[in-house]
Symmetry: C2
């Protein structure tokens, strides 16, 4: 941790650096919860450095380290392998950070760092089996082409998975998104997608897979992306997505401040709920603190968000709408943001302020 | 103006409402200046209200008011008309607002509210000619499906063009972008594109065209989108895009603060320059205040940005890089942001701080 320059927590207004990050990294506008699959260009993006320029024709995926056979695969070779498509809800581990107070100065997601897509690619396990993992293999390291500084340390964006996590059949080396070639900003020509885990695991612009017999100690693995109650703690790595839910804010917005105005009468509330730790089993919806069960849509797969809806007889006046989900593990969203020093894993129940007229 | 609730200017840190807008409205990361056509999902977006849900099959474009024949056109009928494709650089009139101090609290674009696409659609003039404008026609009003509050007034997003501006042959009713069907967030199923003008003129989610014999007094036409030296002035309407330019920041960034690190030696600087008021005739590049002419790429059409490049022998140390363009009208970018109460038309020359090692 000694190399990590920590930033002090702040309260109140946002720094220019936070606005720079929010301007570069797009969120999914909440009305796009209406789409089962988030359309191209509405899927959230968290790009740590710059979008690298990769020549897909010259590009090769290199696989090395503790393997029986080093590999160097072209995109065509990967495309000729058995493909699999998985519908996956990805969420940024820092989603909701910008709502906490005090907050860690970083990408100030309010709640829009989540989206769902169908990802098509080769199971990672197939490539690792072709290379042949040696017995001593412990971590599989994924190196992206994107390079820069974070926490005062220069590095490429690299993350690792332990062998059993890497060998899960739904972990993919992805070259297509929603049936179309992967876009530059989503990691073209090839990216990792780790269903059920926060987005930081799904390394974009993948260039090299390295098999090692130690715990990978790269910045993004060992320093960033840990839950910590206090600065300087070792912390607990961010892995699976915590149970979470959002609703499409009803009515019409004000341009500045996004306050909602709703017509009195019956209003259908629609939203999505998701969890990396088991199916969503229950969603509750509250008006002014009175909770009721919402109706769940059919599940859309083990790694995709699940639709939910609730009817609300809207009465004239100001109201606060909230929702919270429960997953199969029994985890329930907290009503207030859970504390984390760097603002990871905020699954506090959404609040939507509306005025009914 | 009496209905407009003005917000007082602020300095320093950014409001939560500004961050909400930056999270919803994506900018083009500056490294995407490398693409002649901005790929889907990297084109900037300014969405005043919510992305409306439009059923493209039930949708009709209605044309009415002071016309000989009212029209109601389906998307298929529009697609069967003679199509035209135009390469257009669009820029948000508020681009650069977030850099000014004091600044107007609104979408806090720093510099990323600009992009280029090829738009395909029917010339507006063809539809207006089919409807037949009456002699008294003065303004053509374009009504979008998106509705909300701005300045305390509820309205759909609506803008107008005077007849001669509307009849320009390159003004299009657009259903495709970069050869693909228009995406929801870009105005599907149909939008207006007004080449050469700031983006506010290119009304998205178009539903109705209305021909009137007065000056349209809608919020977005008569109150918003005016250059004003002081609050309360009538002001000058925003129309053509002012001459502007940007470079791809060289080197690698820091995640937080985006400061750039560059290797010493020869560096090629690449950027784009554009103007709504005539071709770009000159681009200059400066290192630490020493200006030199950049090399211009071939023009890419009368409404598209033009590439430029410059070589820089980078010496170890901290440097400030800048660029500025001049257009055929003789207009030159100012070195400092021009003053405007609500932060429109900021074409002050870009600054990129780098450390060479």
């Amino acid at each position: 941790m000694s190399g990590q320059k920590r930033r002090p927590p702040i309260v109140g207004r946002y720094l220019r650096q936070e606005v720079e990050l929010a301007s570069r990294n797009s969120g999914m506008p909440l009305e796009a919860l209406r789409y089962d699959l988030t359309p191209a260009g509405l899927h959230y993006l968290l790009i740590h450095f710059d979008i690298p320029e990769v020549d897909a024709f010259a590009w090769r995926l290199r696989v090395g380290g503790l393997v029986s056979r080093e590999l160097s695969l072209s995109l065509d070779e990967l495309r000729r392998m058995r493909a699999r498509t998985v519908r996956v809800t990805l969420e940024c581990a820092g989603n909701g950070r910008g709502q906490a107070s005090p907050r860690y100065p970083s990408m100030p997601w309010l709640e829009e760092g989540v989206s769902t897509a169908e990802w098509t690619g080769v199971p990672l396990s197939a490539v690792l089996n072709e290379a042949g993992l040696e017995k001593s293999a412990r971590d599989i390291v994924f190196h992206g082409a994107d390079r820069g500084f974070d926490g005062g340390i220069e590095h490429t964006y690299s993350r690792s998975l332990k062998v059993p996590d890497a060998m899960r059949e739904e972990v993919l080396l992805v070259y297509a998104m929603n049936g179309a070639p992967l876009l530059p900003q989503h990691g073209a020509p090839l990216r990792l997608v780790v269903p059920g885990w926060y987005g930081m695991a799904s390394v974009k612009w993948l260039e090299r897979i390295e098999v090692i017999d130690t715990a990978f100690d790269g910045v993004q693995q060992a320093l960033s992306y840990h839950f910590r109650q206090a600065a300087g703690e070792k912390g607990v790595p961010c892995t699976k997505i915590r149970v979470n839910s959002l609703m499409v804010p009803p009515g019409i917005p004000d341009f500045f401040g996004r306050r909602r105005t709703v017509e009195a009468g019956d209003v259908e509330i629609f939203g999505r709920a998701w969890s990396g730790d088991g199916d969503v089993k229950r969603v509750e919806f509250a008006v002014d603190g009175a909770w009721q069960d919402a109706t769940l849509d059919a599940p859309a797969g083990p790694y995709a968000w699940r639709g939910w809806r609730s009817r609300w007889r809207a009465a004239v006046g100001a109201h606060e709408l909230r929702c919270r989900a429960t997953d199969a593990s029994g985890a329930v969203q907290p009503l207030e943001p859970p504390w984390d020093v760097t603002g990871f894993g905020n699954n506090g129940a959404q609040r939507v302020e509306v005025v009914v007229r």
